[in-house]
Each structure stands twice: as structure tokens, then as C-alpha cells.
């Protein structure tokens, strides 16, 4: 049982490193817990199986796009094409899954589209050294246009059993999310994954240390694309059909969630657990305000104020110290 011995040794470095990464997001976790408790009071159904399923389903797509945005922001990039990618994923799923390709073929098409477009975007940004914000803005028009070409108006269909499985009375969304988080941990334990931080914060230094900076960044764009179209598939399953503009709101919400989660705009700052907590907080905020009877307009205003507050509070604390 040598693996047991070595994994115990690994604890000597791996777990302390993980613990230190928690330091920056402790406050955020506390706030999320507070909102969770508040939500539990307002909506006691949260602790029933179906309530929990519904809640995680409403959070799931936002969690995916927050991760998609956070990966890019860690490399020092950003994407304004998140929403368009979600839409594209949704329409591809809705047009292929009931056709000859079937569910497996449709899911593969969705995944390949995400990885392909993400990778191509990354290639343009990284190899041609163009600013990410401009490339992805242009990309959002192209990708959004492609979604409208595939499905000019809401339509298509998702097999009912798949909708029931993903968005019905099952904890599938939560299980999937746990799985994705585990995969992310695994990726971050690979040299390429961990290089993301170095490539984002100090690309010159990382390059001189022998890190494949360009490779790490292109890979990040590809993963980000996959997460976005995957979120699209889920949204299509939720609604049972495809809508070519359903993802639009996700672009800004993904940035909001990542920023709430403490991901910095300069690259290399922040953690994925922070981004996930940020997306959960955003999701909770929306639900809590809904239950408190806020009008939609008031919700938007409150949401904006909370985001500014969340970014400002750590800054103020830093100044005081």
C-alpha cells in the first residue's frame, strides 16, 4: 500500500496549499452561507428533494458560465461571447438530439462545437496577439448569428426523457456539478492546469521558466467554450426546446459571478471555488429577492449595488490595514 503512504505525504504540501487558497474567499463563503440560511427560511422547500433539485438546476448553468469566464480571467483574458456560446449550444442540442444523430451524437456535436470555437478563439487571441475583449466581442456577433442561422426562431426539441433526467425531479444537476468540480481539481493538478496561474499573472516570467504559456491559454479558451455549450445543452433541456437568444444574459452574469467570487481582471488572481461561490451568491440573490417580492427592475438595481459592495469591501479592508 505504497499509495497510501505517498498520499499521506502529499498532504504535507497539497492540502496546506489548498487551505491557503481558502483564505481569500472565507468572507465570501460566510456571506453565501448567510444567504443560504435566509433562503431556507423564506423557502423551506429547499430542504426537500424536489426543492433542492429545482434550486441546483436554476444555479447550474450560471455555475458553468461563471467557471468558463473565471478560467479566461485567470489567464488574463475575458470573453464577451459566453452568452452567444450558450445559445449556440442550446440550438445545436435542440436541432440534433431528436434527429438521426440521437442524444449521444447531439451531445458530441455540442461538445465539439464548444471546444472547437473556444480553441479557435484562443488561437486568434493568443497566437495573433489580439486583445481578447475585441476578439470575443466580434465572436459574439458571429456565434450569435450562427445560432440564429441554425434556428431562426425558438423551436426544435429535446427528448423528453433527457429533460426529465437533467431538469426533472432529480439531483442530476448537482451530481454533474460535483463531477465538473472534481474534473477541474484534477486539471489544476496537472502541470498544464497549474500553469494557468503563472501564464495569467506573469507571462514573461512563466515563459522563461519553460511553461508552455500559449498552450495553457489556448487550452483555457477551449475548456471555456466546452463549459459554455454544455450550459447551453442544459438550458435547452430545461426549456425542452432551443432558443437562439436564450443565452444573452449569461455574458454579463458570468462576469458578475466571477467578480463576486474574487477573480481579478489582471490575470492569475482568484480561485475557481471563489467563482463558484460567486455564482451561487448571484443565484441566491436573485431567488431571495424574488421571494421578497422585489420587482424585476428593483432586482437589477439591488444586484448591481451588491456586486459593487462585494468588490469594494475587501478593498476598504486592505486600505484600513
Amino acid at each position: 500500500m505504497s499509495t497510501v503512504g505517498s498520499s499521506r505525504q502529499a498532504g504535507a504540501l497539497y492540502w496546506p496549499v489548498q487551505l491557503r487558497r481558502n483564505v481569500g474567499v472565507r468572507g465570501l463563503f460566510a456571506v453565501v452561507m448567510a444567504f443560504l440560511v435566509a433562503y431556507g427560511f423564506l423557502f423551506p422547500g429547499l430542504f426537500t428533494a424536489s426543492g433542492f433539485a429545482k434550486f441546483t438546476q436554476s444555479w447550474f448553468p450560471l455555475a458553468l458560465v461563471a467557471m468558463a469566464q473565471a478560467i479566461l480571467m485567470l489567464t488574463g483574458g475575458i470573453s464577451l461571447a459566453i452568452g452567444a456560446m450558450v445559445s449556440l449550444g442550446a440550438v445545436i442540442a435542440a436541432t440534433t438530439m431528436t434527429g438521426p444523430l440521437g442524444v449521444a451524437g447531439g451531445a458530441t456535436a455540442v461538445a465539439l462545437t464548444g471546444v472547437g470555437i473556444g480553441g479557435a478563439t484562443g488561437f486568434i487571441v493568443v497566437k495573433l496577439r489580439l486583445p481578447a475583449i475585441v476578439v470575443t466581442l466580434a465572436g459574439s456577433f458571429i456565434i450569435g448569428g450562427a445560432a440564429l442561422l441554425i434556428l431562426p426562431r425558438p423551436g426544435g426539441a429535446i427528448p423528453e426523457w433527457l429533460s426529465d433526467l437533467l431538469a426533472g425531479n432529480t439531483p442530476a444537476a448537482f451530481v454533474l456539478l460535483v463531477l465538473i468540480v472534481l474534473l477541474w481539481k484534477l486539471y489544476l493538478a496537472t502541470p498544464l492546469g497549474l500553469s494557468l496561474y503563472a501564464a495569467g499573472e506573469n507571462p514573461v516570467g512563466a515563459y522563461r521558466s519553460g511553461v508552455p504559456v500559449d498552450g495553457a491559454r489556448v487550452a483555457a479558451y477551449a475548456i471555456s467554450g466546452l463549459l459554455c455549450t454544455g450550459a447551453g445543452l442544459f438550458v435547452a433541456a430545461q426549456t425542452g426546446s432551443g432558443d437562439p437568444i436564450i443565452g444573452t444574459a449569461f455574458t454579463l452574469n458570468s462576469i458578475a459571478a466571477a467578480v463576486l467570487g474574487g477573480i481579478g481582471f489582471l490575470g492569475g488572481q482568484g480561485t475557481m471555488r471563489g467563482a463558484l461561490a460567486g455564482s451561487l451568491l448571484l443565484s441566491l440573490m436573485i431567488s431571495v429577492m424574488f421571494f421578497l417580492g422585489f420587482t424585476p427592475v428593483a432586482q437589477y438595481v439591488a444586484q448591481g449595488l451588491i456586486i459593487i459592495g462585494a468588490v469594494a469591501i475587501p478593498q476598504f479592508r486592505k486600505v484600513q490595514r
Binding site: A10, A12, L13, R20, T190, Y197, R208, S209
Partner: protein
């Protein structure tokens, strides 16, 4: 010599934007030898290192590893060949832990995953070599600059190099850390590693190195054994002048009037400081790196929050509440990090020089380009800044950038200059000019506060030196008592406190 050099450059040349930076330079690194690379800033040292480590490719000539020319040298290839570089600018990632930084780019793997246990063992070994005791899981962003430099060195050692290149490794190290490094390099040399050592500190070079290559304006002026040379001879080879007049003749110009006087002053790390700065003196601030010296200057300048029981600053009876107020009181501050804080690199030299003037003009008054140009020309002539003033500031060498950072305050005739390590990374010739300038300011009745990590310049230039340790002024050394030993021992707390006069 019979053995082939581990790493060599043969007649390499390199130009940037048509400016030749290196012309036909050769250098050969032999095993078991510490090779010094000397030259003023802008002489091409960093470029040569980048060529040797594959970060840049030469326009002409060849890089040889083990006597064989390598045509496509890349950082990855260099790493495989056992070449490790400790860069002057750190290559660390603040949010990753010490161990993750040390292994970056060369992580041990198991099943494609990063092998944390193995990394821990090897990183610990590298840290032990350089005397880093911090837990390996500490993010590098939490370390002081000097400790980060040690991580950088550990990172190079982790790769078990055959060739180790160090670019000014001691510029941010304390005396203790420097000593650890020196002993380490001696040991590595004994193990047959070829070491290339770049430093502006000649006494280190004399003590540590056996062979020297000197660059001047991109060409090689000496490639010889260090035996039988002295520091003076080296400086002559670097600048083509005698080093005797590096420091200007010291003449007392101090008056009894106080320019700045504070009691119970606290800012940042500094606690309860009593300090009088007189007009016409150069007051040195010494001590180990990061003991709060910078906070003292920034606090006086109103750039960070400060508290004080009483303060007199050029006649005003309170600390400036902000930088514009400080400027109005006749204070000027020159930061240590000239690339980030001192200058706006992508803007023209003229714009940089005029920036404080812009702050003083009425916000909506039209600018007079001609007047600006004349002022800038005058400043450039006065400080010896050569060339077209419309070039961006980043086109200048480090020394000339520092001059611009100083020059921009001159039109406002500051009464007190707060200088944060103004000669860090500056070549010998510019150092001499800056020293001259500082003494002249003092002679003209200004108060000069010189925070410096270079102990000789504190000794030779200052009227008094305040030594800072752990946020307190632990010693105030008068001119008569100034010596490198006195400053270092006070900085390290090796001696009883001397009473401030």
C-alpha cells in the same frame, strides 16, 4: 583550455529596432568557475543573458552548448541543457505557493498529474540550499522582496543546473541573505557548475569571481582572469575613467534650521519616530530591506496615511494631507520603482518631465508647447539626458530614466527631496552624476533624504544616517561615526543603540 565550455556565445550580435545592442560578443562559461559579467546599464548584459538562455535569438553569431552550436535555442531547450537563469525581474507568480513556483515549468509528474510529494521533497531541498525556512505552501505574494529573490534562486537550483546565470541577484537581498548566497555559490563552483554572475557591487565580484567579461556599449572590452586586477581597474574598464571620483568631495553645508521635524510619527510599518531633517544636509536612511524605510518617506510625503504628535514641514505645522499639498510645501518624492511609479514609460520624455507642472497649472488653461519644450530642453541639458526628447521614456537606459524621474521636479524648486533608492540598478557613470547632483542640492540649502540599499553611498554621501530596523530608527549615525560596519551592525541589531544627537 582543453575542456569545452559548458555554454558559450561566439561572436553574437543583436539589434532592437535597428539599434545595435550587442556587437560581436563572445563569452565562454567553464565548469567550476564563477564568471563575472560587468558593464554599465545599457551595455547589453541583460540581452546577452537572454541570448544565452534562449529567451532571444541572436541576429548573428552562435550559441554553443558543450562546444556544439545550437541553432534554435529556446527557454525549454536551455532548461533541458541544464541552463538556469535567475532573472533580475522576478519570474514568480504571487498566487502560487513557494513550492509551486519553484517547480514551475519542470513539475515532477505521476500519471500525468503533478506529483506533490515529489515536488515537496525537491523544493524543500532547493529551499534548504538558500536558507528559506518558510513553509512551502505559503503563497509567494506574502513574502518580502528579498525572500522572493531567494525563492527565485531556489527555483533555479531546483532544476539542478550545470550552468547557473544570476542577474543582479543581491540587489534586493539583505546582508545575511547575501552571505548565504555567496557561500552557496562557492559550494556550487566546487561541484563543477559554471556560474555567470552579474552585479553592480564590485566588492562581491572581487570576492566571488575568478574570471571577468566586461561589456561597454554592446562590445566586449575585457575577457580576462580577475587575478591581479583591483576594483578600480574594473571600473576603468567599464567606464574608461578613474573610479576615484565616484563620490564627490564631501563638504559640510548643513545649517541648524530644520526643514522637516516630526515627533511620534507613525506611518505604515514605522512607529513613533522622532526625526529632524535639516536644510542643507543629505540625511541617509539605511537598514535591511523592507524595515519600513519606504513608509517613512511616503508618510512624510502624504502618500500614505500617517499620524504624528507634532510636525513642522517647511514652516507648515502639520503633515501634508496628500501629494498635491506636499508638493505645495516644497516636498518632492522620487520612487524606487521608476518603471511603475517614477515614469510613464510609453509617453514621451517631455510629457514625463512636464507632469508635475500639469498638476500645478489651472486645469483648463491651454498648454504652451513651446514653453514646455524649452523647459524640457533646459532640464535635459542640466542633467545630461541625451537624444530626442519626443522618444518614449522606455527607450532610455535605466540611468537616464532615473534622471528624468528626478528632472521632473526641478522646475518647482523643491525645498526637500525624498529619494527612494535613486541609484538602484543604475550604472556607475550615472551614479556619479546623481551623487554630484545630490551634494549640489544640499549645498544650495535643500534638504535631501536619501533612502538607500547601497551602504557605501550612505557612508560617502551623507551628513547623517538614520538606521531603521523593525519600524524604528535604531541609530542616528553622525558623519564622524559613519562606516559600513557601523551601519550594517546597527541594521542587524548587532550593536547597542547609539543615541541620536
Amino acid at each position: 583550455m582543453a575542456t569545452a565550455p559548458l555554454l558559450a556565445a561566439r561572436g553574437v550580435s543583436k539589434s532592437f529596432f535597428g539599434n545595435p545592442v550587442l556587437r560581436d560578443v563572445s563569452i565562454a562559461l567553464q565548469p567550476g568557475r564563477v564568471h563575472a559579467l560587468l558593464g554599465e546599464n545599457g551595455a547589453g548584459k541583460s540581452t546577452l543573458i537572454n541570448l544565452l538562455s534562449g529567451a532571444l535569438r541572436p541576429d548573428g553569431g552562435a550559441i554553443e552548448v558543450d562546444g556544439r552550436p545550437v541553432w534554435r535555442m529556446t527557454p525549454a531547450y536551455a532548461q533541458q541543457a541544464g541552463i538556469a537563469v535567475v532573472q533580475q525581474e522576478l519570474s514568480l507568480t504571487a498566487s502560487l505557493s513557494i513550492a509551486e513556483n519553484i517547480g514551475l515549468g519542470a513539475y515532477p509528474r505521476r500519471f500525468g498529474l503533478l506529483d506533490y510529494p515529489e515536488l515537496a521533497v525537491r523544493a524543500r531541498a532547493a529551499c534548504d540550499l538558500v536558507g528559506l525556512r518558510e513553509p512551502l505552501s505559503v503563497p509567494v505574494g506574502h513574502l518580502s522582496l528579498g525572500r522572493r529573490q531567494m525563492v527565485e534562486i531556489a527555483k533555479a537550483l531546483y532544476r539542478r543546473p550545470r550552468v547557473l546565470i544570476l542577474d543582479e541577484p543581491t540587489s534586493s537581498l539583505s546582508a545575511t541573505e547575501t552571505k548565504v548566497l555567496t557561500e552557496l555559490l562557492e559550494r556550487l563552483r566546487g561541484e563543477g557548475i559554471a556560474i555567470l554572475y552579474i552585479s553592480h557591487r564590485l566588492n562581491e565580484v572581487m570576492a566571488l569571481c575568478q574570471h571577468v567579461t566586461i561589456l561597454k556599449d554592446g562590445a566586449c572590452t575585457a575577457d580576462r582572469s580577475l587575478e591581479g586586477t583591483d576594483a578600480g581597474g574594473l571600473v576603468r574598464l567599464m567606464v574608461g575613467r578613474d573610479p576615484g571620483d565616484l563620490f564627490p568631495q564631501w563638504q559640510a553645508s548643513v545649517s541648524t534650521a530644520n526643514a522637516i521635524s516630526v515627533r511620534n510619527f507613525s506611518a505604515g510599518l514605522m512607529r513613533d519616530v522622532d526625526l529632524d531633517i535639516r536644510t542643507g544636509e543629505v540625511l541617509g536612511i539605511g537598514g535591511l530591506v523592507g524595515q519600513g524605510q519606504e513608509d517613512l518617506l511616503l508618510g512624510l510625503y502624504g502618500a500614505i496615511p500617517a499620524r504624528t504628535a507634532s510636525a513642522t514641514i517647511n514652516g507648515a505645522s502639520s503633515l501634508p494631507s496628500g501629494v498635491p499639498k506636499a508638493n505645495a510645501l516644497g516636498l518632492a518624492y522620487v520612487p524606487a520603482d521608476r518603471k511603475r511609479e517614477g515614469l510613464h514609460l510609453i509617453h514621451s520624455i517631455i510629457t514625463n518631465m512636464m507632469l508635475p507642472a500639469f498638476a500645478r497649472l489651472p486645469a483648463l488653461k491651454l498648454r504652451s508647447r513651446r514653453a514646455e519644450r524649452e523647459t524640457a530642453r533646459g532640464l535635459a541639458a542640466q542633467l545630461g539626458i541625451k537624444g530626442d526628447l519626443d522618444r518614449p521614456a522606455q527607450a532610455l537606459s535605466g540611468g537616464n530614466q532615473q534622471k528624468v524621474a528626478l528632472a521632473k521636479w526641478m522646475p518647482h524648486h523643491p525645498l526637500a527631496l525624498l529619494l527612494n533608492d535613486p541609484t538602484r540598478g543604475v550604472d556607475v557613470e550615472t551614479k556619479r552624476e546623481i551623487y554630484m547632483m545630490l551634494r549640489n542640492f544640499a549645498a544650495a540649502g535643500k534638504a535631501v533624504v536619501l533612502l538607500s540599499s547601497d551602504t557605501p553611498e550612505l557612508v560617502h554621501l551623507c551628513d547623517r544616517v538614520a538606521v531603521v530596523r523593525e519600524g524604528h530608527i535604531v541609530a542616528m549615525l553622525e558623519r564622524g561615526a559613519l562606516s559600513e560596519e557601523a551601519i550594517v551592525s546597527a541594521a542587524m541589531g548587532a550593536e547597542q543603540r547609539q543615541v541620536a544627537a
